[in-house]
Symmetry: C2
Subunit: 219 residues, 2 copies
């Protein structure tokens, strides 16, 4: 898998732009658990995920987290280059949820290309619209869905992402995804277990009734 065939606007760049990009792009390996980007503290650049999985989240002053979106193969992480984007006034952190390989396009080069090329700028637009849509979806969930439905939805998505009904995940971790507290998650999971929806064991949540979870979720 080559960078040139994975970067969606490669073909519309001029030969000179392609040369500059080829010379600057770096491939990086990110061990699982690494926080690769911390809000405005660093300006990593545009990341294109070659393999693995990244999680973008925000942090409260008190250290609470909420996941705003996940990035998998072929997704691009825009906000790790937010230092060069006008008007971005919020901090997103990014960590590797799995062993991840990324291509890094340095921020200053990405900015230069955006200014030269309408296609690159429109690619940025499309990326931002996608992320914006995910955040709006999340906000609607938070505003208008009860916590049991959000949790059911999270378990189903996680199961689809991992390709298994048995999730290796702690209650603490789920709380961090959903912007909630561990105790709240534990209580709701036990309630789910009483209803036969899940089976709990140490560090594990098994979806014993995915259909039931779906029904709850669509409520």
């Amino acid at each position: 898998m080559e960078f040139t065939s994975c970067f969606p606007v490669w073909d519309v760049l001029t030969p000179s732009q392609q040369r500059r990009l080829s010379a600057a792009v770096q491939e990086r390996n990110i061990p699982k658990g690494t926080v690769i980007h911390r809000g405005s503290l660093d300006c990593t650049g545009l990341l294109l995920v070659r393999s693995g999985q990244l999680r973008a989240y925000i942090l409260s002053d008190e250290g609470r987290e909420i996941t705003i979106y996940r990035l998998i193969e072929m997704d691009a992480c825009l906000f790790s280059a937010s230092c060069v984007m006008r008007n971005v006034q919020f901090d997103v952190s990014v960590e590797a949820e799995k062993e991840t390989r990324v291509w890094v396009i340095p921020s200053d080069l990405y900015q230069a290309l955006s200014e030269e090329s309408a296609a690159v700028a429109n690619y940025t637009n499309a990326l931002m619209s996608s992320r914006f849509s995910e955040v709006m979806w999340l906000m609607e969930q938070i505003m208008w869905k009860s916590f049991d439905r959000r949790l059911a939805d999270f378990l189903l998505r996680e199961s689809a992402l991992e390709g298994t009904d048995t999730l290796s995940i702690t209650h603490e971790r789920i709380a961090n995804h959903l912007g909630s507290a561990r105790e709240v998650v534990t209580r709701m999971l036990r309630y789910f277990q009483d209803g036969g929806l899940v089976k709990l064991s140490r560090g594990c949540v098994e979806l014993s009734d995915p259909k039931g979870l779906r029904t709850l979720c669509e409520g």
Copy 2:
């Protein structure tokens, strides 16, 4: 006030682009209370506010509302042109909160200009980043601020926007801004009144202690 001096990227357009834009842009008067854009139902175009005030909000299936941002003089409303934007998968409604004059750039022309001109595409980026930042701010508020602090913050912002400490606004209307229910707003306002922070009368909220509200808000 001319459109050409208010549209931020006018000067970087080619003479031919300027001609097309001049021929297509329309000035429109929007009476107070008019819903000018309803999610994906219509594709109004890019709106540039000449005077007045617009409110962008989302609607739940049950008809609940939450204000996501306001647009005043010289602000541009991007999501009223969302039909031509790739990957925008959410519906924003826009209504005039005051008698408002806007310039409308038709969606198809705006899209054509974005594809031709990196400057226009980057202007779109800057607009989207601004709105994205406002939505992220709002999400942090919803996630991590208690309702009393959100309400105090809303009253202070509203007072700054209107240039007065006496707001003509119903509890219902405040609830729609904050994504809450009228009863919840009424209860909290009475609690504020008991603490000497506001004075309530029919259709009116007077900020009798803005400093106290600010202290609460910064909590």
